[in-house]
């Protein structure tokens, strides 16, 4: 499989006054197209920072990140935004839907940013919402919906521009276990049927079970990288 994202000696250092805090230390990582990866680690391990770097929401302090072979640290902020908009879909623990917009408008928003025509936008958003059984909720605002519904809308939004990569940050963290299961099954299906590359960040081993590959991170370093089937670190 082809390498989609490659991290070479990536460090992320935060400066807190006089103190330098290395949240990520010399990370080397390769994520290939079509894979389903879980990044696992306790809180404070640097997994969220790693996710932000993979999602082009941040740039490394040291090292290079290559997206399809090109060095993203050379991109301007607008180029990064364009890449995020087209190639990466985000799903967050807090759902992060815009509260003023309806479900349909939330799903259409990434397409507006890419300048897609209104007709196409609407058609695509409706078909995504339909496929996630949200057709009766299209005109509701996030505050009128359950957590599971909001997360499905967030998934629909992440798929709006047909990105190759989906990045999910604790996608089931705010949901009960049965709803969480539904959400993870959607990711599983997107991986197997739609051939999306999926990166899930979590501290929950039960979530990791859905993925094919698990990267354990601790104190800013990768401590193990193995196939999910090996189940090495599951306790």
């Amino acid at each position: 499989m082809q390498s989609l994202i490659k991290l070479e000696n990536v460090s992320k250092i935060f400066r807190l006054g006089e103190i330098e805090l290395a949240v990520l230390k010399e990370i080397n990582l390769e994520i290939s197209s079509g894979s389903f990866v879980t990044i696992m680690g306790p809180s404070g391990s640097g997994k969220s920072t790693l996710m932000y770097l993979l999602g082009l929401l941040d740039i490394p302090s040291k090292g290079r990140i290559l997206l399809e072979g090109s060095d993203v640290s050379k991109f301007t902020e607008d180029e990064l935004a364009k890449f995020r908009g087209r190639k990466i879909g985000f799903v967050f623990q807090q759902f992060n839907l815009l509260p003023n917009l309806t479900a349909l408008e939330n799903v259409m928003l990434p397409m507006i940013f890419q300048g897609i025509d209104e007709d196409k936008r609407k058609e695509k958003a409706l078909s995504l919402l339909n496929s996630l059984n949200l057709d009766k909720r299209i005109n509701h605002r996030p505050s009128e919906l359950s957590g599971g519904e909001q997360q499905r809308i967030a998934i629909a939004r992440s798929l709006a521009n047909d990105p190759e990569i989906l990045i999910a940050d604790e996608p089931t963290g705010n949901l009960d276990s049965s709803t969480g299961k539904i959400i993870m099954e959607i990711f599983e299906k997107l991986h197997s049927e739609n051939k999306k590359t999926i990166i899930v960040v979590t501290h929950d081993p039960n979530i990791a079970r859905y993925s094919k590959e698990v990267i354990n991170i601790k104190d800013g370093q990768i401590v193990s990288n193995h196939l999910a089937s090996e189940k090495v670190l599951w306790k």
Binding site: Y52, L57, A81, R84, G85, L98, P110, F113, G115
Partner: protein
């Protein structure tokens, strides 16, 4: 991307609607500023037009001689400085002067039927100057006829039968200082309350009943045809200087000789100055409104840090975020501008209407399309300018920091 712009406007409007109270308060701030500009400018513009129109009634070949310096007009008016008969005679003898019409008035009590009121009597040399009043000073009759020189007849300003002696009629009599006068005519409005309240009678009779024989508050000199106004103005100045120095030994003489053009220019300049001052103060109000917008926008950026992060994560460029916030502040400016303009024009028009029924002076509120376009564009610009820094600070937020913000 044009289609997207429309969407950004929709998003901006939704954002404003979710913060209704704050949005309206901000807009009210702008409305007040624009309202002040539009109402005050249209009123002062109307006043200017009215005053200049009145000025234009004065003929081109008429020169005005005022005692005292023009730059110190108030002292002259309040201090009662007058032109002496000597002065008048000197002006009369000056080369190029056809004749002189002195302006002479005095307050006296007039009785009409059973009502007594103090009025301003004007002494007019009908015989010499009726022509000048008609042709050069714009006096026209609304009803009745002109008085016959030497007869005890009066004509009255247009406000007299309306306000001072309501129901006063041509052909009836009035009593001043025990002498009976016939009211023979009513003038059309001359454009100022003072002029329209006058009671005009023949100069000789005026001097008889008031006992006022010396001096005039000012005088008009009619210029002979073939002479240039500017030249004659200089001749009059020279002669007056000379007479006064020789006869009274005054070292400094103080009077002003003004052609109608000069007066129009002076008044016009004063009006422009007044307008500029009004505009300056009203602009401050708009700037305050703009600061209100800026304040609201900064608060809004603060509150929406997370939202900005989300939008950036799903592909919004810095310029997009910038644009959305600018549209929001622009909308504040625009709605404020429209509201302020409507209220401003409304107030100006109601004042105009009020003055038609309760004349203090005559004016039309002039809310020109230029003024309206200007105030709309100006308020929109103020909105955008006020939103500039908040929008920039929003667009510069790093997506990671914004997403982590709680």
């Amino acid at each position: 991307m044009k289609g997207s712009f429309k969407e950004y406007i929709k998003i901006a409007v939704k954002n404003l609607k979710t913060r209704k109270l704050r949005s309206w308060l901000t807009i009210i701030g702008v409305i007040i500023g624009v309202f002040l500009i539009v109402s005050l400018i249209s009123l002062s513009e109307g006043l200017k037009t009215a005053v200049l129109q009145q000025m234009r009634m004065m003929g081109k070949d008429l020169v005005m001689i005022i005692p005292g310096d023009i730059s110190d007009l108030m002292t002259t008016l309040i201090g009662g400085v007058e032109l002496t008969d000597d002065d008048i005679r000197t002006i009369k003898k000056t080369e190029g002067v056809d004749f002189v019409v002195p302006m002479i008035y005095k307050a006296e009590v007039m009785r009409y039927k059973n009502e007594k009121k103090t009025v301003i009597l004007y002494g007019n040399p009908w015989k010499e100057a009726l022509d000048v009043y008609q042709k050069d000073m714009g006096w026209t009759l609304k009803e009745g006829r002109w008085p016959i020189p030497g007869k005890e007849e009066i004509i009255v300003g247009s406000l007299v039968p309306e306000e001072i002696f309501p129901g006063l009629k041509v052909g009836t009599d009035a009593v001043i200082k025990g002498r009976r006068f016939e009211i023979v005519g009513v003038l059309n409005s001359l454009g100022s309350k003072q002029d329209d309240s006058m009671i005009a009678l023949d100069l000789t009779i005026f001097q008889d009943i008031t006992g006022k024989r010396e001096g005039a508050s000012m005088a008009f000199a009619k210029i002979k045809s073939g002479y240039s106004t500017d030249d004659v103005v200089e001749y009059i100045k020279d002669n007056l200087n000379e007479t006064r120095k020789r006869k009274r030994g005054e070292d400094s003489t103080s009077f002003s000789v003004l052609s109608s053009e000069k007066i129009t220019k002076i008044v016009g300049d004063i009006m422009i100055l007044i307008e500029a001052v009004i505009f300056g103060f009203a602009s401050i109000a708009i700037v305050v409104g703009g600061i209100g917008i800026m304040n609201t926008m900064y608060t809004s950026v603060r509150e929406r840090v997370k939202e900005i992060g989300i939008m950036k994560a799903i592909g919004a460029k810095n310029s997009t975020i910038n644009l959305i916030f600018l549209i929001e502040s622009g909308i504040f400016g625009m709605i404020g501008g429209i509201g302020g303009t409507l209220l401003g024009v409304g107030l100006a028009k109601s004042i105009e209407l009020y003055l038609q029924f309760h004349p203090l002076f005559y004016m039309k509120a002039s809310a020109s399309p230029g003024l309206i376009t200007f105030s709309l564009a100006f308020s929109f610009l103020v909105g955008c300018a006020s939103g500039f820094f908040p929008a920039r600070s929003a667009s510069k937020l790093k997506p990671v920091d914004a997403l982590r913000y709680e």
